[in-house]
């Protein structure tokens, strides 16, 4: 491959490692979900740290076990969950740039906080674009590396692009690094079917603690907790409609499911949706963690989004002016 260079050999694939970008858009009308990095903020910062365009392909890995060997000299950055990263056996800091040398190994030893980490490489990982995106869609079996998660022995390539600067060392400001806790508050906007639940049901939803169950994957996070009361006169299911990551479905058994990136339509009622800036927190919960929901207005959500965007933009400005 002419414009590609070898990046990594996968020594151990870990629990689940996939290639992801910012998502696949424009194909929902054919039943194709967005896929893409679940913690979009951490993913974007990972790319910015190695001077990539924001939409380059990165690795998303979860919990522990991923081990990579570098097949060249290039810069990388690791963001997201703290999975105790070792470079040649020594602990290293995340949220900054590193220059890898040929033969270096990176190992994600064990989960410390959060759930999912992102590894960017300068130039971006090189895989074919399917429907405009590098992202792996696991249940559809396409995108990323042959539509699947990484396996031992896989060789990963990177684009050999001229616009990045290998020598540049960047650090993401400490106070902007998100903290991932075992107790999470998620801000939500009620609807579109909040009127299918009783006043008490809504109160239950907004005042209870829900536990993350092991039945969670890139399609959704399944929760367990107090049953949310429905209005008896409305049906449990609705006519199938479009879905977005963060939508909170309440199926027949009353236990909420937070929809993630591998779902496109559904026929369950949705009591609320997690706001965009809090989706990263959803990506970082793991079984046993607890979740509380707090309702906010759409205006407040848009202000929060603006704040986050300003923060990323000021970091971009700083990094290009170095």
């Amino acid at each position: 491959m002419m414009n590609h260079k070898e990046a990594f050999e996968v020594l151990e694939p870990g629990i689940l490692t996939t290639i992801q970008d910012g998502g696949r858009f424009g194909y929902s009308q054919f039943g194709v979900p967005p896929s893409g990095a679940l913690d979009y903020f951490s993913y974007r910062v990972a790319n910015l740290l190695v001077n990539n365009l924001e939409n380059e392909a990165c690795l998303e890995t979860m919990i522990m076990g991923l081990k990579l060997r570098s097949l060249g000299d290039f810069t990388i950055a690791i963001t997201g969950a703290d999975l105790t990263v070792l470079l040649n056996g020594e602990p290293i800091n995340m949220w900054r740039t590193y220059l890898l040398k040929r033969g270096d190994t990176i190992f994600f030893k064990k989960l410390h906080t959060g759930c999912r980490a992102y590894i960017s490489v300068s130039g971006g990982l090189a895989v074919p674009k399917i429907m405009g995106s590098y992202s792996t869609y696991l249940s559809g079996r396409f995108g990323g590396l042959e539509g699947r998660s990484l396996r031992r022995g896989d060789i990963l390539y990177r684009f050999n692009r001229s616009y990045y600067l290998n020598s540049l060392y960047l650090k993401f400001p400490e106070n902007w690094i998100p903290q991932f806790n075992k107790e999470v508050e998620l801000r939500v906007i009620l609807g579109p079917q909040d009127d299918h639940f009783t006043k008490d049901g809504l109160k239950t939803f907004l005042s209870s603690i829900y536990e993350v169950t092991p039945q969670s994957d890139r399609m959704g996070i399944r929760l367990r907790g107090p049953i949310i009361e429905r209005r008896p006169e409305v049906e449990e299911s609705i006519i199938s409609e479009g879905l977005l990551p963060g939508a909170i479905q309440i199926p027949g058994d009353g236990n909420p499911i937070i929809i993630l990136n591998e779902v496109v339509t559904g026929g369950y009622t949705k009591i609320a949706s997690v706001i965009f800036v809090d989706l990263g927190k959803v990506a970082q919960v793991k079984p046993g963690d607890s979740i509380r929901f707090r309702a906010v207005s759409v205006e407040e959500a848009h202000l929060l989004l603006k704040e986050q965007e300003d923060c990323l933009n000021s970091f971009k400005m700083k990094s290009t002016n170095l």
Partner: protein, 239 residues
């Protein structure tokens, strides 16, 4: 059936605007969804990331930093006024061969017994009319089609199957659908088609599109196997 005089706006989080045109599964309501979807695509509005058209609503995914919500709503209201001027493409009629019953359609017998008719009558009824594709959703390329003759109105399985084979043709209530890839599923499976419905390398990737019409016809096991063989030969030759 209620077709709303004016579309109803609902929020799905801070990036989704759900535009509802009616409260039922109905061709007239669905046509409005298709018109709105096409109009938005043709206008290519800055800040609209994605549109998800379904039975009776269109979910618009937008970036509020580029396109504020009140502006998006205004634009949608304006388009709504001229919706009848939008020209929809002529619907295509696509004929889909199906091998009914046996291991390919494990629920055919149940469906027949449920309605106190013979399996042959179920097949005959399923092939007796063409169906409108209301939407593609759930999994890549899965067409939601209707309406089945009232006599075939069958409930979903009580417990969904963990895996439904690729190509399975199924019914639920007055809808019929096809599983283009292997997937979990709760519909009654009455047959299987050898036709490839989804190919991620093709543009568009889905053989069927919202607004098209589908007509099923029965084939024999020999014809089914011939079809699969031909399909495999073609994919090996890279066609």
């Amino acid at each position: 059936m209620t077709l709303y005089r004016e579309a109803i706006f609902k929020l799905m989080g801070d990036r989704g605007l759900l535009v509802e045109f009616g409260d039922d599964i109905n061709p007239e309501i669905n046509e409005k969804v298709r018109r709105m979807n096409l109009a938005i695509k043709e206008k290519s509005i800055d800040g609209v990331i994605e549109t998800i058209p379904t039975y009776r609503s269109l979910l618009i995914v937008y970036n509020p930093l580029i396109l504020p919500l009140d502006q998006l709503k205004k634009k949608i209201r304006n388009i709504e006024k001229t919706l009848q001027e939008i020209r929809l493409p002529e619907p295509r009629l696509i004929r889909i061969p199906v091998l009914y019953g046996g291991v390919y359609g494990p629920d055919l017998e149940f469906v027949a017994k449920f309605h106190k008719i013979t399996p042959e009558e179920v097949i005959h009824l399923h092939c007796s009319r063409s169906y409108l594709i209301y939407m593609i959703g759930f999994i890549p390329g899965f067409p939601y089609m209707g309406e089945l003759p009232e006599i075939l109105n069958t409930p979903r399985l009580k417990t969904p199957r963990l895996t439904v084979p690729k190509g399975s043709v199924a019914i639920a209530q007055r809808q019929t659908g096809i599983y283009p890839i292997e997937s979990p599923g709760g519909w009654q499976i009455i047959g299987r088609t050898p036709v490839e419905l989804f190919d991620s390398y093709k543009e568009p990737p889905s053989l069927l599109q919202m607004g098209d019409m589908v007509q099923f016809y029965p084939i024999t096991e020999i014809e089914f196997k011939d079809w699969i063989k031909k399909r495999n030969d073609e994919s090996q030759r890279g066609i």
